[in-house]
């Protein structure tokens, strides 16, 4: 009986093999992979049309455009986004759809916008009710949706809150929208300390003592600002409560009291004092009491900057003959030299991400900004042939660096990405602006 099945079995097996291996049926699981190691753009293409009036009537108030323009300006400031020009939009600019069920995503992806922000604004008197949504136009998916209430005067705060949500979606960090920058300006004829928003808006004079005020330093909780002032004809450190605008401690020991730097997470700061002779770095309480001397080697040590974990400082020392950057573990005292190029490296600032330090280096009479990796110790110059560039300081998310530059003649404050691109002026006030110091992100 079995032999009757042998022939048909062989024929059918061959038939099966032929059929199943036919290219129309075989699902070919073998394929090759190509590596793409570098995106063509480091900016996310996004579209932000003018906000729509959800009250039904035309968006006749300038607030609709003001707020949507502010969002463009704020997102572009981060250098993460490329906001596509409104002239390219393929929708009715007067009344674009704002909800997922009505937005025609293909119209946005066609013009190259991977993402879309829509806003629906209801104005009643001075009150604002704003709905904001972030969409992925390729997938046709809503990514973030928030509603805000406030007054017209709150518009910056409202827009920056949603910008924080957008940046958090892409980077995991809330970004820089709740940060400020302190700097020195000579607009009044004296070197006074000013503060402004992260984007240069709302500059405000902080000191007004008609003396020389330099080296502002924010505490990590944003409550305190320390700075050096020549109010008593010698440099002393003043500590001020930012909220209450009350005077705090004054560190006015014999000799120099300069370059304060707050230890992250603590009411403690490092500063250079010379009461014992040479300029050395000391650890002090926020009330001005000396905890201990941190540096003991020969030479002058100054400009400390803390690692984000508060365990190390980087500082400038001329112990090798010329000023160079050194890194010291404050617990063990172990110190290593970080920079070896050039002859004059100063003003270090430790990245909030902990992996790099930016500093200025004077070469052939002009200063340039560098970054150097803590591990690879590979210095990278970020500015070149653009005046004198000094005092670099990191944004709280570690994505941007603010610095002062004389590239336009007078010293102004500029901001660039941490890899040196998109160098743009932050603000221009009367006089010269210098010595910027970026604050941490304020929780509120």
């Amino acid at each position: 009986m079995i032999r009757y099945f042998i022939k048909p079995a062989i024929v059918c097996t061959i038939f099966f093999i032929l059929i199943l291996t036919h290219p129309c049926i075989a699902d070919d699981d073998n394929y090759n992979y190509i590596d793409i190691d570098n995106p063509s753009s480091r900016k996310i293409p996004i579209a932000i049309p003018v906000f729509v009036n959800t009250a039904g009537s035309a968006a006749d108030s300038p607030v609709f455009k003001q707020m949507s323009d502010l969002m463009i300006e704020s997102l572009e400031f981060t250098r993460y986004f490329n906001v596509i020009d409104r002239g390219a939009y393929l929708v009715d600019p007067v009344n674009p759809a704002i909800t997922r069920d009505k937005v025609k995503f293909q119209n946005w992806s066609t013009i190259g916008a991977d993402f879309l922000v829509t806003g629906g604004l209801k104005l009643s008197g001075n009150n604002i009710k704003l709905e904001l949504r972030l969409f992925d136009t390729v997938k046709g998916k809503r990514l973030v949706g928030k509603g805000y209430r406030g007054t017209v005067s709150d518009q910056r705060q409202i827009i920056h809150r949603f910008c924080s949500e957008i940046v958090r979606h892409f980077t995991g960090s809330r970004g820089i929208f709740n940060s400020k920058i302190a700097f020195v300006s000579t607009g009044t004829g004296n070197k006074e300390i000013y503060t402004c928003d992260f984007d240069g808006h709302r500059p405000k004079q902080f000191t007004n003592n008609k003396s020389i005020n330099i080296s502002p330093a924010w505490s990590s909780d944003g409550k305190w600002l320390a700075y050096t002032s020549f109010l008593k004809r010698k440099p002393d450190i003043y500590i001020k409560d930012l909220k209450k605008q009350e005077k705090g401690a004054v560190i006015a020991k014999k000799g120099l009291n300069i370059s304060p730097a707050w230890r992250p997470g603590k009411f403690v700061l490092a500063a250079t004092l010379s009461f014992s002779g040479a300029q050395k770095i000391y650890l002090l309480t926020g009330t001005g009491k000396v905890i201990r001397k941190l540096t003991r080697n020969w030479g002058s040590d100054l400009s400390p900057t803390w690692s984000p974990d508060g365990q190390k400082i980087a500082f400038v020392s001329d112990r090798s003959g010329n000023p160079h950057i050194y890194v010291m573990d404050v617990n063990t005292g172990q110190t290593e030299r970080l920079t070896f190029h050039g002859k004059y490296n100063t003003q270090p600032s430790w990245s909030p991400r902990g992996d790099r330090i930016t500093y200025s280096s004077i070469e052939k009479g002009s200063g340039n900004i560098y970054v150097i990796g803590i591990e690879d110790q590979d210095p990278i110059r970020l500015t070149d042939k653009s005046g004198n560039n000094e005092s670099p300081t990191w944004s709280p998310d570690g994505s941007l660096i603010a610095f002062s530059s004389t590239r336009e003649g007078r010293s102004r404050i500029f901001v660039m990405t941490s890899y040196g691109t998109d160098q743009k002026r932050l603000l221009a006030l009367p006089g010269k602006q210098s010595n910027p110091k970026w604050s941490p992100s304020f929780t509120k």
Partner: protein, 266 residues
């Protein structure tokens, strides 16, 4: 009589055999149909299916030029440019080793631009002369020698397992160029803001002869949502891709992409 009985017996045997053939054939057809319906679903890779394949006519947005061209980087070790390498570990069992395509997208770009320049610069009369020369050469060549040489080349490429890199898929050289072309197009549509890292997002796609992406799936996610999304969007923004070369005979072309950020400036 005996003869008649024998004939009947033979006829009876043949009829029985035919019945068995028919039953077997019916069973096999049923099994085949079941296999055709179920096998691809069982053996196919676990795919994240798209809801819709959006046909987009691309409007290329020029990449924003960096304002500053002042960045100076002291000479440092250049990261090795891996254009193509072995696929990452996958859950799917691979039957064959993947072959590497030894052409980088930059090289292709350069080569194309050089060729374009050369073609532009060439005098048409030169071209005609070149063609005539080529024809003569071909005519003069011993056909047997040519066939022998081609046979050797094919045998060597099979033996070495390198070839030009389209794995088990036919039309190797043409498909290498096609792969490089689409990878260039996809890279051109890839926007990612993150820092350099060792994360890699690996996607596979299935391309129809007209260049339309008919399926896309993650072979391996990077663990970074933004990187994965940006890679997915880069591919979908490139849809439709250029049509498959005519020499490619299969109904679909499959290819994978490893999106990494090693080349991102620090």
């Amino acid at each position: 009589m005996k003869h008649t009985n024998a004939s009947r017996l033979i006829t009876g045997n043949q009829t029985g055999s035919m019945v068995i053939y028919i039953i077997f054939s019916v069973l096999c057809h049923a099994a085949l149909m079941a296999a055709v319906i179920t096998v691809p679903a069982l053996t196919g890779p676990k795919k994240i299916r798209m809801k819709d394949v959006v046909s987009v006519s691309l409007v290329s947005i020029p990449a924003p030029k960096s304002e500053s061209k002042t960045v100076y980087r002291p000479p440092k070790k250049q990261p090795k440019k891996k254009i193509l390498k072995k696929p990452p570990e996958k859950k799917k069992i691979k039957k064959q080793d993947k072959k590497k395509i030894e052409i980088s997208t930059n090289e292709i770009k350069d080569a194309i631009s050089k060729l374009k320049k050369e073609v532009d610069e060439q005098d048409p009369s030169d071209l005609e002369e070149t063609l005539k020369d080529l024809k003569k050469e071909v005519e003069n060549q011993d056909q047997d020698d040519v066939i022998e040489r081609l046979k050797n080349e094919v045998a060597n490429s099979r033996k070495n397992g390198t070839g030009t890199g389209v794995g088990n898929q036919s039309s190797g050289g043409i498909m290498d160029i096609y792969a490089a072309e689409i990878s260039f197009q996809i890279q051109d549509n890839w926007a990612y803001t993150g820092e350099a890292s060792s994360l890699v997002s690996t996607l596979g796609l299935k391309i129809a002869p007209n260049g339309e992406i008919v399926d896309i799936w993650f072979d391996r996610k990077s663990g970074n949502r933004h990187l994965d999304n940006s890679a997915y969007n880069a591919i979908m923004k490139s849809n439709p891709l250029p049509p498959l070369p005519r020499a490619y005979r299969k109904p679909f072309y499959k290819i994978g992409f490893n999106f990494g950020t090693k080349g991102v400036k620090k």
